[in-house]
């Protein structure tokens, strides 16, 4: 298993040198980016902390960095640190009271959803500097035919982005693995089963939940930075608010929330689905691709609640539980 993983990894590293075109490479970069973000979400989602507010962290990451760069010329690398600091403060301000006062289930999902809407509205409301709903483009640092600028985190070559995203994705998988093996997972699983009982055997519920929330939020914020820098364009609708927050949860559920590569499978699935429908159907009839997309998502949740990878692994193992399975 481990050897197979190493071989696949080596193959992944070699992909840009096989002469693939720009479009397939772009798709792979996007798949890696969303895999990174979905995996970040699932770190807390799988432990019973279903957040519909990760659009907030994605938006904070994307907009903080672009705004600092455009307004003050502050390098995105420093901007990333500022964005992470803001994310930690926001995640703490939301997380601590939620966990302290036992806001769980529907209520947690809806409070976090409010957070992602607040973020979107603030971005739109500050339209004088953020460009409002029209979105904003980071100023280009690539003058005189330069192809990259390290300090501005701008690279015109997709090669660089591919390796950057690949690295982030691998780190996310490693973090997932560490959390999975750590004491915190056992604590949080106990908490998600029965919070009061877990507290009674000495688990610090608030601390366990908060640590995994801050971790997940920070990684999502970094995902927002990467998204903004790679796309060179951000829009409040695509990085914050209800749409993207729901899409994140969908992706993870579609792939399989309880297995390491589930979010990755979900990201690839959603990307292939949306791109495939776009290419197959084209833009002749507006909205037909999203209709099929929505329909498939509904069917998925009704008939395959454990996700693609989850259902596949379960079948292979003869229907055993997946609570602690790993891949």
């Amino acid at each position: 298993m481990r050897n197979l993983a190493l071989v696949l990894l080596a193959l992944a590293f070699a992909i840009p040198f096989t002469g693939v075109g720009n479009y397939p490479l772009h798709l792979m970069v996007m798949a890696l980016l969303w895999s990174f973000i979905y995996t970040s979400w699932s770190i807390m989602g799988r432990l019973g902390l279903v957040s519909f507010g990760h659009g907030a962290f994605l938006g904070i990451g994307a907009y903080t960095v672009v705004m600092l760069w455009n307004l003050f010329g502050i390098s995105p690398w420093i901007g990333t640190i500022v964005a992470i600091a803001i994310t930690l403060v926001v995640a703490f301000l939301i997380g601590y009271p939620c966990f302290r006062f036992k806001i769980v289930g529907h209520y947690f999902a809806l409070v976090t959803l409010a957070l992602s809407e607040v973020t979107r509205l603030i971005i739109v409301g500050m339209r004088d500097i953020t460009g409002g709903s029209l979105g904003v483009t980071p100023k280009s640092a690539l003058s005189d035919g330069a192809t990259w600028s390290l300090s501005a985190m701008q690279f015109s070559s997709k090669f660089v982005w591919f390796y950057l995203m690949l690295g982030c994705w691998l780190v996310a998988l490693y973090v997932w693995h560490r959390v999975d093996r750590g004491m915190n997972r056992l604590a949080l699983e106990a908490i998600s089963e029965e919070e009061d009982a877990a507290a009674s055997i000495g688990i610090n519920v608030t601390r366990a939940k908060l640590s995994v929330t801050l971790l997940s939020a920070t990684m999502t914020c970094i995902g927002g930075v990467l998204y903004a820098q790679y796309q060179s364009y951000v829009n409040p609708e695509t990085v914050s608010g209800i749409g993207i927050s729901l899409q994140m949860v969908f992706g993870v559920i579609a792939g399989g929330m309880f297995v390491m590569l589930g979010p990755t499978v979900g990201a690839i699935f959603l990307l292939v689905l949306s791109e495939g429908l776009r290419v197959l159907i084209g833009n002749d009839i507006l909205g037909i691709d999203t209709t099929i997309y929505g329909l498939l998502l509904i069917l998925f949740i009704i008939f395959m609640p454990k996700g693609i990878l989850g259902a596949f692994l379960e079948k292979m193992r003869g229907g055993k539980g997946l609570g602690s399975s790993r891949i």
Partner: protein, 290 residues
């Protein structure tokens, strides 16, 4: 200078009151469904959007008289609510809560996309605009006043239905205890279906009132959808009276906040207030402090 300032503030407060009536109606159906079935329909605002399109299609595209179009639209959205329960919510009733939330989120995307396929992304309006009403130096929109009145009547009727009829009693009973009531001879699936149809009908009614004030487009649900279920949560999910109070509180924040700043900031203040309140009273505004 001071007196002019005050009269505009008063106007904002009164407009907030009118908006509160409408928001109370918007959240009533959603709250009812949650209270009885224990599932949050994230797509509730999209049902209203469908209702608005139904009215536009009947009235503006096919010349059906407006009042008849209203009645047909309410019936159609009520049927849609029942179908929504039968085909989408029923299969996941015993699934994880997150799956229930998500499946209704899927319906949100689906209805938006279907509306885009059927009607495009243009803004449509039925061309009926009620005049403004001036009282002293303050001006109010008549459509908002009508909306407030209709919403008040609808809320009163729903309340009487739940408290004075046999079926209403059954609905309240099932929301209090899901395991015992079937033993007492109440058929829960029938109650669920009826509640969903009622929730849909209320969405249709809200559509009638909204279509008089706003143009309809596929993404219109997103502009008041989040607001609607935050009101329900603020009032305590399933607590109809709490939702009613919360709607007026929210409307004041939006209206008065929007008066001092821009409209978005009114929403931001309302949402931040919502988040703060959740920490203070997690079970809703009217709950007793734990």
């Amino acid at each position: 200078m001071d007196s002019i300032f005050d009269i505009f503030l008063l106007e904002a407060v009164l407009n907030g009151l009118l908006l509160g009536g409408l928001l109370a109606l918007l959240s009533l159906g959603l709250n009812l469904i949650f209270g009885v079935i224990d599932v949050v329909w994230i797509c509730y605002a999209e049902l209203i959007m469908v209702g608005m399109y139904a009215i536009w299609w009947l009235h503006s595209a096919h010349g059906v008289p407006l009042m008849l179009a209203f009645v047909l639209a309410i019936a159609f959205v009520a049927a849609l609510g029942a179908a929504m329960h039968h085909f989408i919510v029923r299969p996941v009733l015993n699934a994880e809560p997150i799956n229930q939330l998500l499946v209704t989120g899927g319906v949100l995307f689906l209805l938006q996309a279907l509306a885009t396929v059927a009607f495009g992304v243009e803004f449509r309006n039925i061309g009926v605009r009620l005049p403004g009403v001036n009282i002293g130096e303050m001006s109010f929109s008549l459509s908002r006043m009508v909306a407030f009145g209709v919403a008040a009547v609808a809320i009163a009727v729903t309340y009487l239905f739940l408290n004075r009829t046999y079926m209403g009693t059954a609905i309240r009973a099932i929301s209090q205890d899901r395991t015992i009531m079937p033993l007492m001879g109440v058929n829960p699936s029938r109650v669920y279906l009826l509640t969903s149809a009622m929730g849909g009908g209320l969405a249709g009614l809200a559509a009638c009132l909204l279509v008089l004030q706003y143009d309809v487009h596929p993404a219109i649900g997103l502009s008041f959808g989040p607001l609607t279920f935050l009101i329900c949560v603020l009032g305590g999910l399933g607590n109809l009276v709490g939702g009613f109070v919360a709607a007026f509180v929210f409307a004041q924040f939006i209206s008065v906040g929007g008066f001092f700043l821009q409209l978005e900031w009114g929403y931001v203040i309302a949402f931040v207030f919502f988040i703060m309140t959740m920490f203070w009273k997690p079970e809703g505004l009217l709950s007793k402090r734990r």
